[in-house]
Amino acid sequence: MEICRQDDALQISDLDPFLAELLRQIPESTNPDGAPAAEARLFSRPSAEKKICAEWKSYVEPELRRLFRSATETVTDDLTQLNGNEKSLSNCILHIPITHADAWLNTLNQARLVIAAKYKFSDEELNDHDRSPIGSRRDLGLFQVNFYGFLQEFILREIPG
């Protein structure tokens, strides 16, 4: 896989089917359903004061849900470029307009936080970048967290300011 900046877009090319599948799984990975810890992490408490939390739930949380959903929709639309024949993936280039960079950063962050909360990764696991090959769904989850983090790092390097 190669990733580079080309004019007003980020380009991901030379994709193998495995990494293409991980990219396709980004939107789905943001879903905290069935994992209360993930839901609690995405919508964390803003204060120890009950009154503030109650106001927050009524007025702010719906806006946050709308924001996160909108970002995920942008990423989902971009990822439709990967639909098609798996054999043609090596010639496929994923173009991410630089104007979508914030949506990508947000969605990748949602996905990383939800996966980490679902599997309850420890600090040691999250900092272990030389992990042995993937042998379980949990290992795959940790690989996803690191892969999505790599994409975030690249986007952060390329966005202005």
Binding site: L42, P46, E63, L64, R66, T99, A103, R112
Partner: protein, 119 residues
């Protein structure tokens, strides 16, 4: 672009502010006093605290501090390192409404941020 977080939060803050202004007009009715913020409460200094999170990238947290508070890179990095090393950092302190607005923005970027009374 579909994700316009700054505008969304700005509108949210504006709406919240209007609601508060509406409710303070009833301050003389005793039954309403418990539902409004007294001047004393509004005058209490509040602080915006960001807590450590092993998932968020250090570079990402630095960028968020620059964007939300307008801090130069060096200052944003100092706060990021304080969060990373000490578990929390006070990013801003002052009156409640802007503090709430900052916490909203930080949650939009998925940072662990809280609003706390000073002292």
């Amino acid at each position: 672009m579909k994700a316009q977080c700054d505008n969304i939060f700005f509108m949210s803050a504006v709406n919240a502010g209007q609601l508060e202004k509406g409710s303070t007009s009833t301050v003389e009715a005793p039954i309403k006093e418990k539902e409004t913020r007294g001047e004393e409460e509004l005058d209490v200094p509040w602080q915006v605290v960001v807590h450590n999170d092993p998932v968020n990238l250090m570079t990402y947290v630095t960028m968020v501090f620059q964007r939300v508070f307008g801090y130069p890179r060096e200052k944003a990095e100092r706060h990021m390192l304080e969060v990373h090393q000490k578990g929390r950092s006070i990013l801003w302190s002052g009156v409640r409404e802007p503090a709430e607005f900052y916490v909203q923005q930080l949650h939009g970027y998925l940072l662990l941020a809280t609003l706390e009374k000073v002292g």
